[in-house]
């Protein structure tokens, strides 16, 4: 027989005014299993808690009910008190007779309130009788962090975490970290040179003892859960021994062959053995294997000959390394929508129609033209440039429905750069709306218009074609209500920012969600903007949607502080309200697996001694389960139950109703 105590709180007059607490206590004492009841003025006061503890001990109670205010108020208080008196905290249950009774039923005769309080407490009692003691789940935390993607967001996250004394592995797909920001010329709204503010951070990331860089690498497989992830990383063959290479660049110098530079977006060539750009971090070249005649046909080998430390290894293969982490930050960034989709703008047909990122390269002092604006076709300095905004953005027919958020600003920036570099050059901007809502952004655009003379035309362009060596741009100016035609030397398209190819497969490896454009989903757009539904995995930067550098950096730092907070304890405790599979009855229908919003249920197998699979069954990963109970309702064979809210408990409460 259980030994249950029921404590009915008066809350001064808050409860006692409309509930006869004494009567409730007396009614409870009549029920089987209840060995002690009382009512008390202020249960949560120190004397109240002391009384509670003492009574538990004196009467050898094994579980208690406190009939008082909402569990959202004092459940923790009383569980703690119970625990101090030697009870399992989950054997302490609350009945809410204040918010649900005394405060909402104002019957001064106390009849209504007393009846309802008695009913509610009786229901709690029946639940409590079927209560199992539960223990908080303790999860050890592996205090190392993984950052996937070495753009500005990922670099910032890694630096901040390292600053907090925690080890970080930064995995970058390309041969160098830096991401898209490395391509930019000057950056809005302050017009600092991108390289000047980015390079020091890249170098710092390389030198920081707490940061391990895996460039030219990709995440292959992710297992585990918050605090305990196991990750396989593929280090792609560089054909250069990273440990011995001094970065002298001799090999690059001597390599006789060229290929198109991906970094320069088709505006320049690079060698077959190359670093993407001069300030690459690490400054270790890679060989572009598909284009290297030595690797393909055993011809050449010049680089190996000139390399002093002999670090070229044409036989190098990909390597898989396995590492363990407590948290993962995803910062894989964005791409630009392929321009080919927009035939009406002449891209692909007309050489001098380029996109915004290509313009960044032309304007960058480390770019293919040394920072002079010269058009790709003949190297001439363009005397007029038409900028087209919203190319692919806000275009649900051929592009994406969202606004890319940064292109209004960078187009204004482009007109300024152009005006500074080409005196007398005229820029025209076709826009639909000017969306520049950041701090000092509106002022920035007005400067482009008022000071740098950019001609803004409200409307879209419909046709771009060549005539007599010039580019004819046919658009509309809806403000003057007319069709306009401009003869230009160059056209720059502000194409939409889109997710990276393969963003979805990475998300599937990580178990995080993404939207229809394959941008990653945050847990809550306002209140948990850098978390994902998968505990321990965080998001920073443009992998979740278009944003500019200030936002990307803020998010990088935000994820770092989340990780540091997580790592500030040695282990995590979690509410033990999790699902549990009945191994005997589970028939492996996997309904629960598909129902679980957190992918917390795995397909497990029972094996015999020979290691053969005897049968399959579901298994809940307690580290991941959030205790929603969706699986329980989904299971048709009643083989999975939710601790603390078991079917048995609910039915018992119903029976007492």
């Amino acid at each position: 027989m259980p030994r249950i105590g029921v404590f009915v709180c008066q809350c001064g007059n808050n409860i006692a005014a409309t509930v006869d607490t004494k009567k409730v206590a007396e009614e409870m004492l009549k029920l089987p299993g209840v060995v002690y009841t009382c009512d008390y003025k202020f249960m949560c006061s120190s004397p109240g808690q002391e009384m509670l503890k003492q009574t538990i001990k004196d009467n050898k109670l094994d579980s208690i009910i406190v009939a008082a205010c909402s569990p959202h108020m004092h459940e923790k208080t009383f569980r703690k008190a119970g625990e101090a008196a030697g009870l399992n905290p989950y054997r302490v249950e609350i009945t809410n007779i204040r918010e649900q009774c005394s405060w909402v039923h104002h019957d001064k005769t106390r009849a209504v309130g007393t009846v309802k309080s008695t009913d509610l407490t009786r229901m709690t009692l029946e639940r409590l009788k079927r209560n199992q003691p539960l223990n908080k789940i303790k999860i050890p935390i592996k205090k190392r962090a993984l950052v996937i993607g070495g753009g500005i967001a990922g670099i910032q996250a890694a630096l901040d975490i390292a600053e907090g004394g925690i080890e970080v592995v930064l995995v970058e797909r390309e041969p160098s970290i830096g991401g898209n920001m490395a391509r930019l010329s000057e950056t809005f709204p302050t017009m600092d040179c991108s390289q000047c503010i980015l390079t020091p951070k890249m170098v710092e990331a390389e030198l920081n003892e707490n940061i391990k860089l895996y460039t030219y690498s990709e995440v292959e497989k992710v297992d585990g859960y918050i605090g305990n992830f196991t990750v396989q990383i593929r280090k792609k063959a560089r054909y250069v021994d990273e440990d011995r290479c001094t970065g002298c660049g001799e090999c690059i110098e001597k390599c006789p062959f060229n290929a198109e530079s991906k970094f320069e977006l088709g505006l320049a060539k690079r060698k077959i053995i190359y670093t993407p750009f001069p300030q690459s971090v690490p400054n270790i070249p890679v060989i572009d294997a598909p284009n290297c005649p030595k690797i393909q046909k055993d011809k050449c080998g010049a680089c190996a000959v000139v390399c002093g430390p002999k670090c070229i290894d044409f036989k190098q293969e990909d390597k898989i390394v396995t590492e363990e982490f407590g948290a993962i930050i995803v910062a894989t960034g964005y791409d630009l929508m392929p321009n080919e989709r927009f035939g009406e703008y002449g891209y692909g047909r007309i050489k001098d129609v380029i996109n915004g990122m290509q313009f960044e390269r032309l304007a960058s002092s480390s770019g293919p033209t040394g920072g002079e604006i010269r058009r790709p076709s003949d190297g001439k300095v363009p005397q007029s440039i038409v900028f087209i905004q919203c190319v692919g953005s806000r275009d649900e027919q051929k592009g994406v429905s969202y606004c890319s958020k940064v292109c209004c600003m960078y187009t204004a920036k482009h007109t300024m750069l152009y005006n500074h570099k080409v005196h007398g050059g005229k820029s025209y901007v076709f826009y639909m709306d000017i969306r520049c809502a950041g701090k000092r952004y509106e002022e920035f655009v007005r400067r482009a218009i008022e000071h740098d003379g950019a001609m803004y035309l409200r409307g879209r362009v419909s046709r771009v074609y060549e005539k007599d060596g010039r580019i004819i741009v046919q658009g509309a100016d809806t403000l003057s209500n007319s069709q306009v035609e401009i003869e230009a030397d160059m056209v720059v398209m502000a194409t939409a920012l889109v997710s990276r190819p393969g963003a979805d497969s990475l998300a599937q490896k990580l178990g995080i969600g993404y939207d229809k454009y394959k941008f990653y989903n945050e847990y809550h757009p306002k209140l948990r903007p850098v978390e994902t539904v998968t505990a321990g995995i965080f998001l920073a930067g443009t992998c979740m949607g278009p944003m500019d550098i200030p936002d990307s950096v803020a998010q990088g730092s935000a994820t770092a502080s989340k990780v540091l907070a997580l790592f500030s304890a040695n282990e995590m405790t979690r509410e033990p309200i999790t699902a549990l599979v009945n191994k005997v009855t589970c028939n492996a229908c996997w309904d629960c697996v598909t129902a679980c919003p957190y992918s917390a249920i795995e397909r497990d197998a029972v094996k015999n001694r020979q290691g053969e699979v005897v049968r399959l069954l579901a298994k809940v990963n307690e580290g991941v389960c959030q205790g929603c109970g969706v699986c329980v309702a989904a299971c048709r064979s009643k083989s999975i139950d939710l601790k603390g809210y078991t079917d048995e408990q609910v039915f018992a409460a119903l029976a007492a109703f």
């Binding site: 009614e27 029920l31 909402s70 569990p71 959202h72 809410n96 204040r98 918010e99 649900q100 009774c101 405060w103 909402v104 039923h105 104002h106 019957d107 009849a111 209504v112 309130g113 007393t114 009846v115 309802k116 008695t118 009913d119 509610l120 009786r122 229901m123 847990y523 539904v533 309200i577 129902a595 919003p597 957190y598 959030q626 205790g627 929603c628 109970g629 969706v630 329980v632 309702a633 989904a634 939710l642 809210y645 079917d647 609910v650 039915f651 409460a653 119903l654 029976a655 007492a656 109703f657």
Partner: protein, 154 residues
């Protein structure tokens, strides 16, 4: 021991003898339960006929709970959770809703008048909505009279 206790010791009627329905409410912990709490802290008044069972999420609600509630003497059942898109567990309430569609047919088959079953969304800030909901449901069930189909089953 079952049934609302009342001062006369009879179940289902008040002293005055008028029919007082018993209403079972299944609510989620995060939204509706908090909304009901807010009604309390705001000292709003509503009909006393409802008894709440708190669950982590409406997605936890097994259709059997509802049948059991009727079996145990409920005259009406109320299910309320977070608004679509606001679920604390992201998609729990979608699962719940999807299940209800099939479940409704089953309930009708089981002889339960669908007017006795109410679904609603009440967020943590919608105390007024909660109060209105309880009052309306209580009045409606009152008009329908006691649920007799299952009486005597137990």
């Amino acid at each position: 021991m079952s049934g609302h206790t009342d001062t006369t010791g009879h179940s289902g009627t008040t002293q005055s003898g008028a029919f007082e329905p018993k209403i079972m409410a299944f609510v989620c912990n995060w939204c509706t339960y908090a909304g009901a709490d807010l009604a309390g802290t705001s000292r709003m008044e509503y009909r006393p006929n409802v008894r709440i069972i708190k669950l982590p999420c409406t997605g936890r609600i097994d259709p059997l709970f509802i049948i059991k509630a009727f079996e145990n003497g409920a005259d009406g059942v109320l299910v309320s959770g977070c608004h679509p898109g606001d679920c604390h567990y992201t998609t729990g309430n979608y699962h719940a809703r999807r299940r209800w569609i099939g479940f409704k047919k089953l309930l009708e088959f089981a002889g339960i008048d669908m007017r006795r079953l109410h679904f609603s969304w009440v967020s943590a800030s919608e105390a007024i909505k909660w109060v209105d909901l309880i009052n309306n449901v209580t009045d409606e069930i009152k008009n329908l009279g006691p649920f007799m189909e299952y009486k005597g089953l137990k």
